[in-house]
Amino acid sequence: MKKPEEILEYLNQKFGEDQLTLERGDIGEPWILVPASMIRDLSKFLRDDSELRFDMLMCLSGLHYLKEEELGVVYHLHSTKLDHYVTLKVRVPVEEPEVPSVESIWKTADWHEREAWDMVGVVFDKHPNLKRILLPDDWIGHPLRKDYVQQEFYQGIPTGE
């Protein structure tokens, strides 16, 4: 039963000191900030390492930070064997929202990533079929962006009042 701090130290030994930082909001639980390029091999390590064995990706959510002009992806991992939790967060600038996909590691990420692409517009490269999952394919814009403007007509049907 490892606490997030211990998990961070364990990861720092493996991945070098400066890469990962543990951040904590005023309230709620802490998360580990991970640079985008590292997320896939970090996840592979998290799943396969005997000490950690994070075999379940509970939830993957996409966010849009308007003030810092960034897109965030939050991974909540849980190990059913050793029963400990960790939260990873990846922040990428809005201009090139490239995050490597973890679909090959946890199968459940396939649909979660498609939803993050559909809602917030984070591009997951090497994802098998990154298409819109909830909205129709010819929808314009990503609705969960803070600066999203709703399109007036969709195939001739008024979306407004």
């Binding site: 909205l135 929808w139 999203y148 195939q155 049907i157 407004g160 009042e161």
Partner: protein
């Protein structure tokens, strides 16, 4: 009040007899299409279940639109679903009615303000006969909606064919 002294302005007794019989038949065997969208579909199923029992009114579910008379739009109509609803409505054979059940299909309901993907009222794509308010409406409210539809059917005449004009979907 006997049959003969029914005062209808320009239609004679013979038509009235046939017309009321046809209306009676159409009124008493409204088969609804077996498909539901959201929470109102659960209340529709509860109405079809033993306690409120649609079958007492001669209302049974039909899974193919060809054999259905009433389409109960039970739930939220989204943009992706709007064209499907329109196609299903066109597939139904002619004397067909639509009951819009629940706030979502009446006018977008709880999702009218920020729901970008929600259609603000199903009457934007298909003509609606009866609006049943509620979120979700009680089974009795749905039954009352059917009684109102039956009232409307008894009022229909075959002389002035139910002209499609007044039932055209009023685009907002």
């Amino acid at each position: 009040m006997g049959m003969l002294d029914k005062k209808y302005h320009d239609s004679n007794i013979i038509i009235v007899g046939l017309e009321s019989a046809l209306n009676w038949a159409r009124k008493n065997s409204l088969w609804y299409e077996q498909f539901g969208l959201a929470c109102c579909a659960i209340e529709m199923m509860a109405t079809a279940a033993s306690r409120y029992d649609f079958d007492r009114f001669g209302i049974i579910p039909r899974s193919s639109p060809r054999q259905a008379d009433v389409m109960i739009v039970a739930g939220t109509v989204t943009m992706k679903m709007a064209s499907r609803i329109e196609r299903l409505y066109e597939q139904m054979s002619e004397p067909r009615y639509v009951i819009s059940m629940g706030s979502c299909s009446n006018c977008g309901g709880p999702y009218w303000e920020h729901g970008y993907h929600v259609l603000k009222g199903v009457d934007k794509v298909i003509p609606v006969d009866v609006y049943v308010p509620g979120c979700p409406p009680r089974p009795e409210a749905l039954l009352e909606g059917f009684l109102k539809l039956q009232e409307k059917i008894t009022g229909e005449t075959i002389i002035f064919k139910k002209n499609e004009a007044d039932k055209k979907p009023e685009t907002a």
